[in-house]
């Protein structure tokens, strides 16, 4: 029993790490008023380029860097469409998911001649704990301080809450929005890397299958606040860990546990409607 609890807790932390990175990215982007439903695609390129970088240089940290750059580049496109061209956030986000998956699979097939990459060097574990988990938990606190306790954070919140008012105060709205969306892609890319070179050590077509959307659910459940989003990610990580642990148990089919992040988000949305509309009216 004790062993089971330890297993579920450690697995939950492991699965939560990628979610935390991607969800914090999504929350940052939404704080600046741009909805990013392209997290899945950005995680996908991140996961692919992390493996490619790690394979090419033998260093997982270079892989992590590649993942950030790839995710950020894709997110920059989203920023360009949404901020400069005033595109519909949803349509552009859908395009990001397609482009992200297309680019990831294309790149992996280009480098490895197959959709499954060879095994590459993983990110190290420190004292039995995944570095990604520690980094992810630290990120939650750092972002909380950044958003609520510093002047750039204040500017970002102002842009997201009322863009016209922010503009009249002389805040560079275009710059902040572009920066936040791009940063969200970098974080989502790290999230992808946390799966492909953190949890496992290669890339497969199913490496990223829904984590980006679970992260999106966490953004909503956590009400876009870094600490709330972090807790939501831990909860969803625990749900995934339970699904793994109870896999063969008949009383509760694992499919229903897999559904929990989504059902929970829907219930919370239905029962506790948000008090104020966001700038985009999405939440």
């Amino acid at each position: 029993m004790m062993q089971d609890i330890i297993f579920v807790c450690s697995t939950a932390l492991m699965y939560a790490a990628p979610l935390i990175f991607a969800a914090q990215g999504g929350a940052l982007s939404e704080t600046a008023g741009i909805v990013n439903i392209g997290l899945e695609g950005m995680m996908c390129v991140g996961a692919a380029f992390a493996v490619i970088g790690s394979w090419a240089t033998g260093s997982p940290f270079v892989g992590l860097l590649c993942a950030g750059v790839a995710g950020g580049a894709l997110a920059w496109l989203h920023a360009y469409a949404c901020v400069r061209c005033r595109a519909d956030h949803t349509v552009s986000g859908v395009a990001m998911n397609m482009l992200g998956m297309g680019a990831a699979f294309f790149a992996v097939r280009f480098f490895f001649d197959a959709l499954t990459s060879p095994v590459v060097a993983k990110l190290p574990r420190a004292a039995g704990v995944d570095t990604c988990t520690v980094a992810g938990l630290a990120l939650c606190v750092l972002l909380h301080v950044f958003i609520f306790r510093t002047w750039p954070g204040q500017h970002i919140r102002a842009v997201g809450e009322h863009i016209a008012a922010a503009k009249t105060l002389g805040i560079d709205t275009v710059g902040w929005q572009t920066a936040c969306v791009t940063a969200s892609g970098v974080l989502a890319g790290f999230g992808g890397a946390a799966v492909s070179i953190g949890i496992v050590s290669n890339f497969q077509p199913t490496t990223i299958s829904g984590q980006g959307f679970i992260a999106l659910a966490a953004v909503i459940l956590g009400r876009r606040q870094p600490l709330g989003v972090g807790c939501a990610c831990l909860l969803f990580g625990a749900a995934q860990a339970l699904a793994v642990r109870l896999g063969a148990w008949e009383a509760i089919p694992s499919q229903f546990i897999n559904m929990t992040p989504y059902v929970l988000t829907l219930c919370v949305l239905a029962l506790i409607p948000p008090k104020s509309k966001t700038a985009t009216g999405l939440l």
């Binding site: 349509v91 998911n97 397609m98 297309g102 909503i220 992040p261 409607p273 509309k277 999405l282």
Partner: protein, 365 residues
Amino acid sequence: MKSVLTVLTEAVLALAAAAVVLLLGGGDPLQCLGILWRMIVLNPKNIVNVIVGAAPIIITGIAISFAYASSLFNIGAEGQFIMASAAAAVVGASIDLPAPLAYPLVIVCGMAAGALYAGISGWLRARRGVSEVISGIMLNWCALHFSNYLIRLPALHDPNTQQTVQIATGALDPLCRWQLTEQGLAQIVASPLLREIVGRTSINLAIVYAVAAACVCAYILRRTTLGFRLRAVGLGAPAAELAGMDIKRSIMQSMMISGAIVGLAGALQVVGVSWCISTLNGFENYGFNGLSVALMAHGSALGCIPAGLLFSALTLGGRLIQAFSGTPSEVISIMIGAVVFMTAISPVITTLPDRLLGLFKRGRG
């Protein structure tokens, strides 16, 4: 005229993007185009394959366009498709009725499942103000896991496979049923062309439904009071409300009709192509591809027909290109992603022909 120019500009830009990606990946764009032409346009079997592949995404595209007329973004089409397929498979496997009853019943059950599932999103949007995009994404994943759960049930599971048991013969698509009769089989074997296009494909009647659905939707949206109301709500909900229109009811109606059309696609896929449902490791993308089709067609129901055929031809083409020249088929996904991205930035694209023409005129003047 202007919208046609926009669509053409988008197509050319997407082709250019694909060509750049191909060149980066060491491929030859012209050779790929040659393969596409030879293998698809000049090959009857592949023409049928393109049509069979296009039918479901044309129908889901029409459904998404229909909701889009009321400014609703039915991203939950994927989940509605899965639920409809599941309903069709369950009903189809458990009934024992003559064909004239079983076939329509299965399709109606699929449509009802799609409509009800879309109704959840519609209710959340109308009554709770929850974006249909967010609820749709969540419901997609619920549908995926629920369908996988259904397949594992002993009553439905086909032992030693990842599938449910096959649906009753009476519930199959008329063309499939004809193939299974002795007389039909004899006719297919006798003719080389039929052997090629019927024997070696999953030919079915779904495309007929697709064309009919496009016409019906275009008619409802343009020529009926219901369509007028739905479009008015889409163009400006406050104005429509002032004019006495019931916004909440309109949102529910729009979502449920859209869901029913997606359900039609899901049921047709089961009765005409798969005859059962299989365990899903990920989405089969019928809904998401329908989204691309609808965006490629700029929200026009009739425009979904050519857009869906093009989409299907490109997808099949991607596989063929990979088989014949080793170029990764993912270049097609990138190309379609580029098309969707260009619809997103279409305000810029729309002015592009004008700007280019402006340059040209200035150059002459």
